[in-house]
Every structure is written in structure tokens, then in C-alpha cells.
Symmetry: none
Subunit: 204 residues, 4 copies
Amino acid sequence: MALLGRTKKDILLEFRTGEILHAARTVFASHGYAKATVDEIADVAGLAKGTIYLYFPSKQDLFLAALREGVEQLHGQAREHIARATSVEEKIRAFVNARLEYCDRNRDFFRIYYTEFASLQVRSSRAQPEFQDLYEQQLRLLESVIAEGIAGGQIRPLDTAKVARLIYEATRSAVAQHMLAWPDQRPEETTNLVTDLIWRGIGC
Amino acid sequence: MALLGRTKKDILLEFRTGEILHAARTVFASHGYAKATVDEIADVAGLAKGTIYLYFPSKQDLFLAALREGVEQLHGQAREHIARATSVEEKIRAFVNARLEYCDRNRDFFRIYYTEFASLQVRSSRAQPEFQDLYEQQLRLLESVIAEGIAGGQIRPLDTAKVARLIYEATRSAVAQHMLAWPDQRPEETTNLVTDLIWRGIGC
Amino acid sequence: MALLGRTKKDILLEFRTGEILHAARTVFASHGYAKATVDEIADVAGLAKGTIYLYFPSKQDLFLAALREGVEQLHGQAREHIARATSVEEKIRAFVNARLEYCDRNRDFFRIYYTEFASLQVRSSRAQPEFQDLYEQQLRLLESVIAEGIAGGQIRPLDTAKVARLIYEATRSAVAQHMLAWPDQRPEETTNLVTDLIWRGIGC
Amino acid sequence: MALLGRTKKDILLEFRTGEILHAARTVFASHGYAKATVDEIADVAGLAKGTIYLYFPSKQDLFLAALREGVEQLHGQAREHIARATSVEEKIRAFVNARLEYCDRNRDFFRIYYTEFASLQVRSSRAQPEFQDLYEQQLRLLESVIAEGIAGGQIRPLDTAKVARLIYEATRSAVAQHMLAWPDQRPEETTNLVTDLIWRGIGC
DNA sequence: GATGAATGAGGATTCATTCAT
DNA sequence: AATGAATGAATCCTCATTCAT
């Protein structure tokens, strides 16, 4: 069976990889990509520097892996929450809330996501296409929710692509505001405020 | 009078400073702070590397000066446009439009602002308080507009501080979307769409 | 008897050792000593890296062993061919031909011998005395042939030590030329040309 | 005038370049390319490590420049000596003597040339074509001398290309022998011995 | 004031060697 | 005996900053 097929080796690999990614997130979050050193990541992970290179071929690959894992979980959580919601308004709320809650629980990831993601979008890099793709998947998810709302008459007939982008980004900003300005507030409150504004903004 | 007080020396100083800031913005915009080199900035400015250090004490100071100048102009333009607008809705529109238009005209500044500003907010640094202050001035400006709208009955009674932050950030995101996804569209169109959404979101 | 004294253990040891030496020669030949990695040697040998260290105490020892084995075979073959030859001229020819043929059949060894041997001669190292010794044995062998030729009146009365060195080195160069510039020519042709030149050079 | 056109800058550049090349030759000669460190070269040159990189883009470029300069001088000297000789035999002697003498006077260069050149011939590298070219120029020079000898009846009708290569390499070996085994002997003695052997080998 | 040659601290990466399993 | 994950010393190269001219 697949699960039992995992050997001790696989488990160790996954464990170490996870440890390193965790340490990487901590260090990248506190200094930013450029000032973070592989040395410090190794220290935090409790490993020797060379060991890092057994699991990731370069500092950049490690960084991208740490970012990618977070983005995938973030997007996955949004997808699931939306899937469980029934009404269109609830789906918008689910989107906002899923992102807010994930970032609230993964503050190191949030700091990297918030401070380094823009560079990836703007500067062409090996990683750009990959993250662009993840981004567009989420956009399409939002678009389909909006289209559903328009079809159902709850949302005004707007350009779905543009509105999806704006909602996505407004949520991104709201998350940042929550984390930076109101970090001790309950996520639900922020979700309510933001969803209310969005819903009125796009609703009939 | 101030103007007559400016000596030739002052003028040259200002001229050189401006040249260097322009070159800095070009280089920081295309590579990001960390990968930009003082050498390249000097090249672009047509000066020797040492000369840069006669005008700015360090790479970081140069970076902050370049960013600060842009942020001040950006904020100044928003302030002026708002001052010229009469109705509350027009003031919101003026805020959005001023920012959008400034970034559209100063693309190098935009790239720096977009990619590096978040790090300054998140990472404690010498520069943080200064930019925090500029930021809060704009927030208070927006707050006063919102308070005016609430008092006048055009805006629902919301938490002005929070809504100001959200509008500020939503605008920031919208500007980014405009620049990255719809760079050839006329700024007014984006302004209309965004203002409409915001106004419906917060209006009665 | 010696043969019966060899246990299964001895045989395995010798087998593994041979495998590793073969892999080492392949890898050292293609990248040179400095750029060759123990990892790649282990890969080529189909063994784990640690296993290499059960048979050889260090990368350098492995290298020297690979080189030594080749040099010993090369010298041994020259010795045998010379012993089988009858006339002095035939002995010179046998020397040239034995070396040429051995290198032609063991191209990986040749590349190491050709590219790395000089460093051992020039740089004092642990290994120097050993290879110096092997070298001098061959020189003495050649000297005795030359002395025989002088005594028999076929060779002019020259300084045997010097001429032996020159013939040895001329042969070494000729082998290199053959391998690099005329690799598809039959060894005999090169042997004939070289022997002819040497023989005329030293003959009466 | 061109000579007076050399600015102070040019002179400093040439001076530093020369200093660095000299230090590089010293260090590469004593440890070999792989074990030599840029740090040590800088130390020997009395400069900081970074300074080396102002003059040479990489360790390898520095190495190749050091080698190239020597090879060019070596070849140039051979060319000049040959040009000054009148008879064919004198030209052969001039070739041998020029090389021997140059190496005798530039022992660090000799060690590098002797220990690292073979790798360049065998391992494909960026530098290969360049040195191959220099090598072939010398071969053609020798070939023309031999052809002249054959035409004049002093040399037997041999394959000029092959014989040129063999003489070139025999000389190379003889130089090595002189440097390593008889370093205190006067170069002329070795030249005489070697030229005599070569001349008898190829002469009528 | 302007220059740009020199500096050297700092950091990513490699790889021979070890040792617990 | 065999393994291969872990180690960390070693080294190349970059670039912000300084300072003599």
C-alpha cells in the first residue's frame, strides 16, 4: 500500500525538508531574502550549513520552496473554504476569511509573502511563471464566483476579470492591514468589515 | 527671501542631488535594492562612484532619499487634488486618481514603491518612523474626508480609522493592478471603476 | 603455496579494490585530480561513497594507487619486452613500443599519467620518493641497454645517464604525440619513426 | 606620439598587472593551479584580494594570462633566435637553446608550463583553442626549418609535420630534464647534447 | 569638488571525510 | 562490510565604503 510504502528514508527526507523550510521561513521573515544567510538558516534548523545543500540546491531554491509551500496552502485553504460555502456572499466571505486566518496562523509566511512577492511579480525570474500560474488559478476561482453572482442577480454586471483582480488585491491589502495594524483583533471582525465593503461595492 | 538666498553652490548641489536620485531610481527600479550597485548608479548618473558619497552618506540613505522624494510628491499630489475637489465623492476620486496618475508618470518610482515599501513597514529600521509618519499623514487626510462624508450623511457610520486604511490600501493595490495588468489603459477608466466600488462600499 | 593461501576474503578485497581503481582512473582521467570527486568515483564504481574509504584512506591515496598500478604495469611491460629482445636496437624499439602500446590500450591511465605526473615530479609530496624510485628503475634499465650498445660498438660513447633520461623522455613525448595527434595510426608506425630517429641519434 | 600618449593611468595599470602576474606565477608554480588561492596571490603581490579582481575577472583568467604571457615570450624568443641563425643546424640549435634559456631564467613559468600545460591540451576548456594556436604557430616554424633542411639535402626526406612535433616535444622534455635533473649545469651543455642527438637523428 | 583605485568583510557553495546504522 | 546523511573547513567572488590625488 502506498502509505506503508513510505520507507524510513522517505520519512526522514520529509522531516528534514520540513525542518529546513520552517527555519528558512523564520529567517527569511525576519531579515528578508537578501539579508538572510544560509548560515543562520542552518543554525536555526540545528544543522550544519552543508546539510541545507543536501536538501535544496541553492539559497534561492530554498526560498522559493518555502514561499511556494505557503502559497499553495494559502490557496488550497481558500479553495476549500469557498467550496464549502453555499451563497455567493458566503463564498466571498470564505475567500477573505481563509486568507486572513491562514496568514494569522502563519505569520512568518505572511511576512515573506507580503515583502517579497511583489519583486517576483515585477522582476522577471525563473520563478515568475510558476507563481504567476498559482496566482491566476486563484483569480479564475474568484472570477467564477463573481460570474455566478452576476448570473444570479446578486452582483452588478461588472467586468469579472477586473473585479476579481481588485477583490484579490483588496483582500491581500486587508490581510496586511490586519496583521500590521490590528494584529490582536479577532480575524472574524476584519473579515466582516472587509466582506461588507466588498459586497456593497459589487452588489446590486 | 528664500529664493534669493540660494547661492550658485546651492543650485549645483540641488542639481547633482536630483541627477543622482534620478539615476538611483532607475537602477533600484530595475534590480531592486539588494542587487542594485552603487557602481551602476554612478554610471547611470555619469559620475564617479566616490562622488555619490559626497551627496549621500550610504547606499541605504540614497535609497531612502529616492523613495522619500517620490512618496512626498505622491502624497503632495493627492493632498492637492483632494483640496481642489468639492464633494466628498469627488475627494475620494481625486485621491485615487492622483495616486494612479503619479505612478503612471513615474514608473521607476512605482516599481520601487511597490516592491520595497512593504519591507520598510515590516522590518524595523532607521527609516521606519519617518515613512510611518508620512503614511499616517495621508491616513488622517483620508479619515477627515470620510468623517466629512459621515457627517454629511453620504457615508455610513463606519470606523473612520479602519476604513481609511482599507481605502488607502485598496487604492495602492488598484494602482499596482493598473500598472502591471492594464498598463496601457487610460488611468481614468481604472479610477472610475475603483472609485465606484469604494463609493458603493462605504456609501449609504 | 601463495595461491592456496588466498582466502575468499582476499579475493573479494582484491576484486573491490580493482573495481574502485578502475572507476577512479575513469574519473580522474576525464576531470583531472582536482576536479574529480569521490562521489563520482563511487557512482562509477557502483558503490557508496563511504565504501571507497574502507579500501583507500583518502582521495589522494586512491589517486596514487591508481597511478602506481598503471606505472608499474607500464614499466613491467617495458621490462618484459626488452628482456625478450636480442639486439640493442631491438631493445630500444621494444621499450618504445611497449610504452606506446600500453598507453594505447589504457587511455584513461595515459591521460592521468600525461596530465598529472609532472606535478608529482615537481612538487614535493609524500608520493614523490616512491614514483621517483620507479622512474629510476626504468632509467637504469635503459642505461644498461645503452651501455651494452656502447660496449658493443653500436652506440657512440655518450653519457649513459643523460642519454637514458633523454630517450625516456623523448619516448614519453612521442607517446603523447601519438595519442593526441595521431590516435588512429597503428602504434607500430610511430614506433618505427621514433626508434629510427633515436637510433640514428645515438648510433655510430 | 604613441609612446608619449601613455598616461599615468596606463603605466599604473601595466605596473599592477605585471606585479599581479608575477605573484600569480610564483604561487601557481609552487602549489599548482588547483591548490593556489587568490588570497595567497594577493598576499604575495602585497595587495588586497579584491584588488586582484580589478585586474583579472577570475582566478582562471589570471592563471591563463600568466601562462599566456610566458608562452608568448618563450615562443617569441625561439622565433627571434631562429631568425638570427643562418644554417639549418644552427636554427635547430637556436630553437632548443632559446627554450632552454628562457625556462632557465623563468623558473616559475617553467613549473607552470611543465605541470599544467598538458591538462589544457587534453581537457577541453575555453583556453584550449588559444594555446593550441600558439602551439601550432611554433610547429609551423619548425616545419619550415625542417623543410628547408630537406630541400638543402642536410635532412633526410621525412614527414615534416611529424618530425616537427617530435622535435618540439623532445625539446620540451629535454628542457624539463635540464631543469629537474641538471639544474646547475650550463644550458649550453644540454643544448649541445640535445641538438647533436636531434641532428644526427634527422640528418643525412 | 571630483575621482576611481584599493580595500576587506561577508556570504554562497563545494566536497573530502566521518560515523551511526 | 556497506551505507549515505551529516559535517564544516576552505575558497571564490562581490561590492559598499574610503581616501590619496
